[in-house]
Symmetry: C2
Subunit: 335 residues, 2 copies
């Protein structure tokens, strides 16, 4: 049997930086999801309420890739009190031909961060106006930084407004952004002021009550909502969702987990309405933005297709660089 | 962060033989499943029809164990033509307190074989008569051998009848059994003759049409049906199932994947009837066998709880033996 390749977080950070190649790889996954006979079962979710823990397992097979990923994403929200990060996890890469394990990517969630930020860039590239000088970011965590970084790779940004529930985090974010990206970054007093004259907004919070109302919408705005990946999370008010051109990463997921779910529940959007997916818009099967004055919203819940795309990308780079530790796994003990 | 422990198939075969300790560990999982606030989500299943491939992912959290397993079981049925086994896979062990990855058990499906055989022994110990000298085995693959081996650990067996679709495989099985277990083993011409005066029968085939009919039942018989773990598989005729005392490993699974599913579909068993689970019988919450003349049937579809039980057992043994390879996974490259 072939050896299993093991890669740790440090190696994966070197091999797979957030760059245009990663964004193009994730875009390819969205196109495949919309146009090919992809197999992507519903997310497996294990809840451990006593530990404030949860684990998501995602997978997808895409005909264009020789391998597929199975991703395990634990979130244990008491970890910070133990000096550990809340989110971690790993990806397994299996051969799509034989099912044999090709690689174990012990990325502690890093590749998920990259593919999630890359999806934000794909959404902006596909749906935002060509000129989006002013970006609003809601939330000030790691993914807020990465979303902004990904945007700078696909759009010329001149100014950032950031809002976060804890003002000191927004201030730290603003200082970081000014230093790292040479961009003016202001802290907004509330989400509404952050959005007031933004061209593009990205929501990256775990909020369970809407942050963006219908009153915050204005012609030309594009919103990428990436915070909601579970039933109880909600960043966009149902009335706002009903007023925009809505595009999902995967409708069968956003109906259950995303912003769409809340709008359907509130009765402002019909449950049986047909919604476009990001990959369909890229593949020109469905309409995205038609006019500069359109208001677009992309609802990202995270797909196994993105995981397969980024994991196969990481494995190919590791092989090219001859990186990683090989684990020979024979049934018989040697000798 | 703590290092991740890697164990390969050869090491796991040495650390976790099929023995009474493994059987007791799996029994504990069934008791927990019946009596504790276990979290066991439905199986995640990915189908790759073009490759004749399928992948099951199972998991369960049991309060009594400090860790939980996530098991990945691929089955790629064209693999033998490539000189590779159809079944392989691995188990991940995560901390139930922090979600951090503790171990990667690259067992190629070995631990699944052990926990499945152990479940057969638990079913026999719980439901079969005390004296079961004559055992019928349907199927002659690896799991048929392991089921018989597990039975010899909990019951005194004097004689075996084996049937398999391919007679030459049954003959090889019979020769192996005679040699390894010092037992008389006869090849039966059909399943009915194999069962004719058996005390205990184990079905281990991937059959999609029933092998055991109502006419094969006789007072005192216990049947363990472990072949059906998918919607289309079926070893027990609905009329036979309706005529026995039926016990499931997990009713919510057997209603969908197991023998019960076919009996409900055929209309011989009411879909809303209440069925006992193996763990409930062990914990004396539900009745199993009451009389020597009862006919009992245990429907095993395989549970994530068994995977968590065997994986935590393997990890504890590896730690005690200081076995395994340590993988230090820091975010920063050293130096």
């Amino acid at each position: 049997m072939n050896p299993v390749i093991l890669l740790g977080e440090a190696q994966l950070r070197e091999l797979v930086p957030l760059d245009l190649a990663a964004i193009d790889q994730v875009e390819a996954a969205f196109v495949a999801l919309a146009t090919e006979a992809v197999a992507m079962p519903p997310i497996l979710r294990l809840d451990l309420p006593a530990q404030r823990g949860e684990v998501d397992v995602k997978t997808a097979w895409l005909p264009r890739f020789d391998s597929f990923a199975i991703k395990v994403s634990p979130g244990f929200f008491d970890n910070p009190s133990l000096g550990l990060p809340s989110l971690n996890g790993l990806m397994l890469v299996l051969s799509a031909k034989t099912g044999l394990t090709e690689a174990v990517l012990l990325d502690n969630g890093y590749l998920t961060s990259v593919r999630t930020a890359a999806a934000g860039a794909v959404a902006a590239r596909t749906l935002a106006r060509a000129a989006t000088p002013h970006v609003a970011i809601l939330g000030a965590g790691e993914q807020a930084r990465l979303q902004l970084q990904a945007l700078t790779l696909v759009r010329r940004i001149e100014r950032v407004s950031v809002w976060a529930r804890r003002r000191e985090e927004a201030e730290r974010f603003a200082a970081d952004v000014s230093a790292c990206f040479d961009l003016r970054c202001d802290v907004a007093a509330d989400p509404h002021r952050a959005l007031a004259d933004a061209d593009l907004a990205v929501t990256t919070t775990p909020s369970t009550t809407p942050l963006i109302d219908a009153a915050d919408l204005h012609p030309g705005l594009h919103i990428t909502a990436m915070g909601s990946d579970a039933e109880h999370k909600n960043e966009i008010a149902p009335a706002a969702l009903a007023a925009v051109r809505y595009i999902a990463d995967r409708v069968q997921q956003t109906r259950v987990l995303g912003e769409l779910h809340h709008a359907i529940e509130a009765g402002v959007v019909r449950a049986d309405a047909s919604f476009a997916e990001l990959g369909q818009v890229i593949a020109r099967q469905r309409l995205g933005r038609e006019r500069d004055t359109d208001i677009t919203l992309c609802d990202l819940t995270g797909t196994g297709a993105q995981d397969t795309a980024i994991a196969t990308f990481a494995l190919a780079r590791a092989r090219a660089a001859q990186a990683g530790t090989f684990f020979i796994n024979d049934a018989k003990t040697p000798g």
